[in-house]
Subunit: 216 residues, 2 copies
């Protein structure tokens, strides 16, 4: 995600270590302790400005949500959104990590995560960048290592080519696909929570693709 | 497929019982005898005017092809196409059936068919007609009964909604999906043989969807 630099972000992230966890590898295998409950853990890779993860956490208090975003300025915006949502002592089931998706196994133990959300991930359209796509098989290997048995990946995108690539990548990996839709906002799917991108795209009448992949 | 009635079709079909097999249930479990070889058997459900099955038979002499089409006039056109192709003693690996897809198990023994082609099947867009779609689960049940282990269904369509429905239906049935493409004619897929419909659609720049489903 491209965004103008937010000079305040670094400071605010440092001042909120309970919300943007500074050394997540120390919580590897202990996230249930972190949240002080035994609820399932869902993570979002590429959390962006944080609307999805914050609203999901509000809507599903029986689930723990962890949003992962590498870019400091973007994460700063997500942090402010989370702080605002917590004003009424709500949304205690959500935290953020300023980390890279390719190090997931440093932060999560095998079987610690029940679901992964990929929302409007960079499609990396050029063929030579295939391996950077978050549904490329090396990433699926990472996801499999941290997911529970039958753990799920829920994907949304506006990019048809990335969606097509992802369906094939999931299938070739042996995942079972579920709830495939080529037009989420005109589908039967209930309970959709929109990202900031999605709101903008949907308002323009663009189609949103969505699917769920169950790990083999 | 809608087509003006061909008054000659009935007669020509009767005169060519080696090409349009009149009592296919008598060959159930004996199609390898019919073709006088042990090559795999591929069937097309809804053969239409017959270009696909005839050209496939030409291109793959080591496979036996059976085209199934219920409508007499349409089948008559397919028959003439097949007769023309056989002029040079070629294409002895293809025959046609004037039958209904919902009676497949009357004509084929368990495991007798290695692959099923569904090309531009009627999408039956209305929800109350869902059960008529050739990828509805009751049809998948039929296909499973006649397909070999790991037998495949290869589907092409220009109808996005039918494609979306089919991907879900295959997945929900436990099929593994393969080679999903949202734009066949701009994809890497090699060796595509076009149906009459497909030629027309492709010339208009319409997208063709394609996938392969492997039976569980």
């Amino acid at each position: 995600m491209r965004m103008r630099r937010k000079p305040w972000a670094e400071e605010e992230i440092k001042n909120n270590p309970h919300l943007v966890v500074p050394r997540p590898h120390e919580w590897k295998g202990k996230w249930h302790q972190f949240f002080n409950n035994t609820h399932p853990i869902h993570i979002e890779i590429g959390t962006g400005k944080g609307q999805f993860i914050t609203e999901m956490a509000k809507a599903h208090p029986q689930v723990n949500f962890i949003g992962i975003e590498l870019q400091t300025s973007v994460l700063g915006v997500a942090l402010r959104k989370l702080i605002a949502a917590r004003k009424n002592n709500e949304v205690e089931n959500c935290c953020l990590l300023r980390e890279n998706a390719n190090q997931l196994t440093d932060f999560f133990a095998p079987g610690e995560v029940e679901r992964i959300y990929l929302n409007f991930s960079d499609p990396w359209p050029k063929r030579r960048h295939t391996k950077r796509r978050l549904t490329y098989r090396t990433f699926l290997d990472l996801y499999r290592k941290i997911l529970t048995e039958k753990g799920e990946i829920h994907l949304k995108t506006d990019n048809e080519k990335f969606f097509e690539f992802s369906l094939n990548s999931f299938s070739d990996y042996g995942c079972r696909l579920k709830n495939i839709t080529f037009d989420l906002h005109n589908s039967d799917y209930m309970g959709n929570i929109m990202t900031e991108y999605e709101e903008k795209f949907a308002a323009q009448g663009m189609k949103i693709y969505r699917c769920e992949a169950i790990m083999p």
